[in-house]
């Protein structure tokens, strides 16, 4: 395959960026999208041009490190992470536009790399169950209905990649936050802190500059782990309940 690539390049957080155009030939359909960029970077390096910076680590779709806007879609045309997207999803002669995540709360670090540390700060505000090491009761002392455990698991598969934010016209992180609220809220262990968790996490979310949710659903469509939109309903319900409880 031969491709034309339009790629955002920006030297650092404070400098202005711009789109650059590159031609790439002999692309194999079996390459992953990131391997295609590896090949481009090898060629740039040979020519004396600094390679394009982009994030990736596990390249198995689970660490959540990678993430690019590809032709305007977070992680590109398939429901998967950028690293698991393969070139067989594109056609010969195609022009592909590649940009970093779009969100004010995710400032660009360099080229296609953004700063997602806001997610960590949201988790710090309650995305956990407070249980010190060694203080846990026997694992079988609290049975968990199988369906609850499965729902908790299904939403706990969020990889924190940020595609939901990048896809959302409001730049909201409600899907990310709702997934954590629902994961812990489904389990008996998560009940004692349920109210404070949602209140504090939402406050931090807003403080970071993420936008509000207006039920567009672009987040769940872009989510590589298919986190369902109803986690946001759960988030809102938990928030109402917490407020009713006087938080």
């Amino acid at each position: 395959m031969n491709l034309t690539l339009k790629i955002w390049r920006q030297p650092d957080a404070t400098s202005a960026g711009a789109m650059h155009t590159y031609e790439l030939s002999e692309v194999s359909p079996d390459m992953s999208f990131l391997e295609m960029l590896d090949v481009l970077n090898e060629q740039l390096n040979d020519k004396g041009e600094e390679p394009i910076a982009f994030d990736s680590d596990c390249r198995e779709g689970i660490c959540g490190t990678c993430g690019l806007m590809i032709n305007g879609e977070a992680h590109g045309p398939e429901v998967t992470t950028t690293c698991q997207l393969h070139m067989r999803s594109f056609s010969d002669g195609e022009t592909i536009t590649i940009e970093p995540w779009r969100s004010d709360a995710f400032p660009v670090v360099k080229d296609l790399i953004v700063d997602r540390s806001a997610f960590d700060r949201i988790i710090q505000q309650g995305g956990y169950i407070s249980v010190n090491t060694g203080s846990a009761p026997e694992a079988h002392s609290v049975p968990v209905p199988r369906d609850d455990a499965m729902r908790a698991f299904n939403v706990a598969t969020c990889i924190g990649c940020g595609a939901c934010v990048a896809a959302c016209p409001n730049g909201s992180a409600s899907l990310f936050m709702g997934a954590k609220i629902t994961h812990l809220g489904e389990l008996p262990q998560g009940q004692p802190e349920r109210d404070s968790r949602v209140v504090n996490m939402v406050a931090q979310h807003d403080h970071e500059g993420f936008g509000g949710c207006t039920n567009i659903g672009a987040c769940t469509a872009a989510c590589p782990k298919e986190i369902p939109l109803d986690v946001i309903s759960q988030l809102n319900k938990d928030l109402r309940t917490a407020i009713k409880h006087g938080h």
Partner: protein, 675 residues
């Protein structure tokens, strides 16, 4: 024992040298004194850990605030330790190269975590988990450490459940278990095929809770590039801020390396792109012994290489071997055919044939080597890469018939989806193709029972240390070890060391700090100034090919010696001809990789020397010269029942080998047999 100071080729004699009949590594190393674990407890094995915990000195809660701990790495072993030590009240600094602690490579572990809960009442116990782990490790691990691992395994499950880790459950609401590669009891806890992710998120959340509590500070996108030692003690690290390029000095009372394994020395492995040996190797060069570096695990169920662009390999959990059947065509002529057109009688279910009692569940090394043998015989399947078909079938047809498609989906859906995503083939319709890939390293920095390295004040946890898996790790035991070390072992042993602190203040102008910082800057300046013709990746790929060819699934004297020569000349060329563009003052991924590959060269050479010295086949280490008449691995307990602990002797000197004898009192050494 009398040891010559230096062994040279001229002095070498073919037999009777040192304590083995053969020592192929003569001339490549210097024999040193034996190394002894001075913390090794004695007494009945079931009481050793309790005794050690009691004897380890306590630190008054009020004093903990005055003690600082650096932890490098935020995988299971690092995040769990940082959270636990933060909860205890110490001042913790946690470092990772990723943009968030949640992304460390533990996250990719799929299958599960072992624990001796015996919830299935199928004869499991702490002693059986201990026994299986020592046996699985081919009697090259330390008995006391492994027993402790089995002992604390049950606490891990309790802790994780309390954190909200959503393990699979049965209809009654209790935890489900499955059996996993190489064992006959069901003791593996799992969260579909994403157990590592769920456990790491649990540890990460506990860590972030401590960040909010003010006990832990996280330094993301930071890479440790040097260890600071003062008066022989580990006192800090030099780290590079990977965004600004700033070279930072961090001083503490104690340093913990939880920096993972070095499988990426093979270039292609199932490790994440960023996994590297630099933190461990820099400590090694400062005096920490590296133990059994040649013990690497090749995982049998990975997706085969599709072409030269391949940047990494993807593992599929070996839990797939519980229900999938592995086969190749009996006849070479069938290898090109659609597998669905090959009748049952023309299929060779080779693991079931050779190992009737364990079948497809034989340990990883055995399954891997058997697959390699089939392909070497010319019965491999899939596309030809460099003239050979490197793949065997993993077939779910029988499982789909037995469990129904829905049953298979519930257990394995995400794995089968991943396979389809990567290969473009539907595994519900066509058998999957698999081939072995480097997955885990059992070798690592030498530690004593307290997990302390040969540098006082430097502790090593998780995959970065060597202690628990011997020559081969059982499935679902990596997660167990990482969390055992971080949650339940290190927090107890480190306090015995910290009881002597706080140690003397170290200023950033201290000569040892300045020297460490300058050496980091010197290396960076060198890489940026060579301005040669070849990219870092091209060197890494070539090194990986050498390692895979000569220090992979099968090693031989000739091959290893050749590999050492090849590595040395490639390394020379790298330093003279590498091309790293950009500057040191910004995010520079080529520069990051250059430092890592430089350390991989030195590690790769040591791995080959270690493999050369160990002329026996054990666990994941198969020496062509040491096999039975029917081609099975042959161990030599009389000569090689030791841990090889290697000391760095300088850039131009041969490494020094210190041996730690392995003694078993609670278990009898047997040749493994899975037939």
């Amino acid at each position: 024992m009398d040891m010559p100071d230096t062994v040279t080729s001229a002095e070498a004699s073919p037999s009777g040298f040192l304590d083995g009949d053969y020592d192929d590594a003569v001339g490549y190393y210097t024999p040193g004194d034996p190394v002894v674990d001075t913390k090794a407890p004695d007494g009945p094995i079931a009481e050793r850990w309790q005794n050690r915990k009691f004897e380890a000195r306590l630190v008054n809660p009020a004093n903990r605030r005055k003690l600082s701990i650096i932890i490098v790495g935020t995988g299971l072993a690092g995040a769990s330790a940082a959270a636990t030590l933060g909860e205890a009240g110490y001042r913790v600094k946690s470092f990772c190269y990723q943009d968030s602690p949640r992304r460390a490579h533990s996250i990719a572990a799929q299958g599960g975590i072992n624990a001796a809960k015996n919830y299935k009442e199928d004869g499991d116990s702490v002693h059986r988990l201990f026994y299986d782990t020592v046996k699985g490790g081919d009697y090259r691990s330390r008995e006391s450490n492994v027993y402790r691992l089995a002992e604390v395994s049950t606490n891990i499950i309790d802790q994780c459940v309390a954190q909200g880790v959503p393990f699979a459950r049965e209809y009654g609401g209790l935890l489900d278990n499955r059996s996993f590669g190489g064992v006959q009891v069901s003791r593996t806890f799992y969260a579909r095929g994403q157990t590592g992710q769920q456990l790491l998120i649990g540890a990460y959340q506990a860590l972030e809770r401590q960040v909010a509590a003010g006990t832990v500070e996280t330094y993301t996108r930071h890479e440790m590039l040097e260890l600071v030692t003062v008066d022989g003690k580990a006192r800090g690290i030099i780290a590079r801020d990977m965004v600004t390029g700033e070279i930072e000095t961090h001083i503490a009372d104690v340093v913990v390396l939880a920096s993972g394994g070095y499988g990426n020395v093979f270039y292609l492995s199932t490790n994440a792109m960023g996994c590297n040996v630099t933190a461990a190797w820099r400590a090694h060069r400062k005096g920490a012994y590296m133990a059994n570096p040649c013990f690497t695990q090749i995982h049998p169920t990975c997706i085969p290489v599709s072409g030269s662009h391949q940047s990494k390999l993807t593992l599929m959990s070996e839990s797939l071997r519980n229900d999938g059947r592995i086969w190749v065509p009996k006849n070479q002529a069938d290898c090109e055919k659609d597998p669905r057109d090959i009748p049952e009688e023309d299929r060779d279910y080779f693991l079931e044939r050779i190992y009737p009692s364990f079948g497809n569940l034989v340990p990883r090394d055995i399954a891997s080597r058997a697959a390699k043998n089939m392909c070497d015989e010319g019965r491999g399947v899939g596309p030809e890469v460099d003239g050979v078909r490197r793949g065997v079938y993993l077939d779910f047809a029988a499982a789909i018939e037995r469990l129904g498609r829905a049953g298979v989906e519930e257990k394995y859906d995400n794995l089968l989806d991943m396979y389809e995503r990567i290969t473009g083939e539907n595994p519900y319709e066509v058998p999957m193709r698999i081939y072995p890939a480097v997955h885990y390293v059992m070798g690592g920095l030498w530690v004593d029972y307290d997990l302390q390295s040969t540098i006082p004040g430097l502790f090593v946890t998780g995959e970065a240390n060597f202690s628990d898996h011997g020559a081969n790790r059982l499935g679902a035991s990596a997660l167990m070890q990482g969390l055992a070390d971080g949650y339940f072992v290190l927090p107890h042993t480190i306090r015995d060391y910290l009881a002597d602190g706080p140690f003397e203040e170290i200023s950033e102008d201290h000569p040892a700090v300045v020297e460490a910082r300058e050496s980091v800057k010197g290396r960076i300046d060198h890489f940026l100034s060579v301005n040669g013709t070849r990219s870092v990746d091209s060197y890494h790929r070539e090194l990986g090919n050498i390692m895979w060819e000569y220090c992979g699934m099968e090693r031989s004297e000739d091959g290893l010696k050749k590999a050492i020569d090849l590595i040395r000349s490639l390394k020379d060329d790298f330093y003279r001809n590498v091309k790293v563009l950009g500057s040191a003052e910004t995010l520079n991924q080529s520069l990051e990789k250059a430092g890592r590959v430089a350390d991989f060269f030195e590690l790769g050479e040591l791995m080959c020397i270690d493999a050369l010295n160990r002329r026996e086949s054990c666990g994941g280490h198969f020496r062509a010269e040491s096999q039975t008449e029917d081609g099975e691995a042959l161990r030599h307990d009389d000569e090689y029942a030791y841990v090889s602990a290697w000391e760095w002797a300088g850039d131009d000197a041969a490494p020094v080998l210190h041996k730690e004898d392995l003694v078993y009192t609670a278990i009898e050494m047997k040749q493994r047999s899975y037939k």
